[in-house]
Amino acid sequence: MSRESLVVDGTAKTCKGVIAGLERGMSDLAPGDVVLAIVDDIPTRVDVYAWAQRKSHRVLEERRRGSGFLFYIAKGVAGSQPRSEEMYGDPVRVEGERAETTLHSEAPR
């Protein structure tokens, strides 16, 4: 069984990027639910961390996938601020192997 409740695939060529998809997807989830975000470039990776911090969500784990990146992000509770080291420091587990992922939710347009 997958740990994530939703997959947001930011690798498709669309005018709206992964942040728009994450915002929309998170709004329907409960605190603690996990979203898998797939991104394929460095600046979007930076955006995901910044967005998670601004919105009090937690980046649980980041992995490489080919030339891109997978994020597991837990929805936070409004008003709770994650510690900065949770966003940028050691608690972010990084794995180098290619992740096996089943996409079970429609990617954003």
């Binding site: 005018c15 709206k16 990027g17 955006d47 961390y49 980041e62 490489r64 180098g96």
Partner: protein, 254 residues
């Protein structure tokens, strides 16, 4: 990040797509500096490419007439444009909002996105504050926002709005579910800043024209391909757009 190239005709559109442009933005430099092109030109460009090549239509600086503008927006929808950009200069906020709301209504039934546009240099024309673009897009239920410039005198977007301000506007727009675009005499030398800001779309013309001349020159595929590759290198980290200050974990094994 998608690359949008402004074109004036089918030949330039073909050069753009051959060079790797994701979006061709059809405009007419002879009407203002970012005016609208003629319906047959837009139709010709739209029909020349598959749907994954986006064709946007610029209405440029529109008059303060909601009926006239919404009719033009309807025309863009009827022509199958992927998006239509409505830009304001000497409009007050309530007028711009009314025009966009009527434009939104005009696009009902079409698969064409509405983009609200402001100009970073609008203070030169006593125009609408460019930083209102996100509010304007949100309140009009536009699909996206664009910040461009009107002056084409060697100054560009970053001469009027700084990176921090633009980053903030872009992130706000993304969080509201909009597509975000930046344009305005942008050059390869601006790519590091643009990648750090990370809009969904970056728009160019002069940078990919022969002799770098947006008016007398023409879009050239090799210049488009060169810019696209420079962008790709920054997006993938082959060129460090963050200049050694990447604010996230950097020890990701391959």
């Amino acid at each position: 990040m998608m690359l949008m190239v402004s074109v004036q005709n089918l030949e330039e559109a073909k050069e753009s797509v051959a060079g790797g442009a994701d979006i061709v933005d059809v405009k007419n430099l002879k009407e203002m500096v970012i005016g609208s092109n003629f319906p047959p030109v837009i139709r010709e460009v739209r029909q020349a490419f598959p749907k994954h090549i986006h064709v946007s239509v610029t209405l440029g600086v529109v008059p303060n007439q909601a009926g006239t503008v919404s009719l033009a927006v309807y025309g863009a929808g009827a022509l199958g444009a992927t998006s239509v950009k409505v830009g304001f200069i000497q409009s007050d906020y309530p007028t711009a909002l009314r025009i966009l709301r009527e434009s939104r209504r005009a696009l009902e039934g079409f698969d064409t996105k509405l983009i609200a546009a402001t100009f970073a240099d609008s203070h030169l024309y006593h125009g609408i504050d460019p930083k209102l673009v996100v509010k304007l897009a949100r309140e009009s239920r536009s699909d996206g926002m664009l910040i461009d410039t009107l002056v084409k005198d060697g100054r560009n977007l970053f001469d009027f709005l700084d990176e921090v301000t633009l980053k903030s506007l872009v992130m706000e727009g993304k969080e509201l579910g909009m597509s975000t675009a930046l344009s305005g005499a942008l050059q390869i030398s601006n790519l590091n800043q643009l990648v750090r800001i990370n809009p969904d779309i970056v728009g160019v013309r002069g940078a990919v024209c022969t002799r770098g001349d947006r008016e007398a020159g023409a879009v050239h595929s090799e210049a488009v391909a060169h810019l696209k590759d420079e962008l790709r290198q920054r997006l993938t980290g082959q060129i460090d757009a963050f200049e050694g200050s990447l604010p996230i974990p950097t020890t990701l094994p391959a």
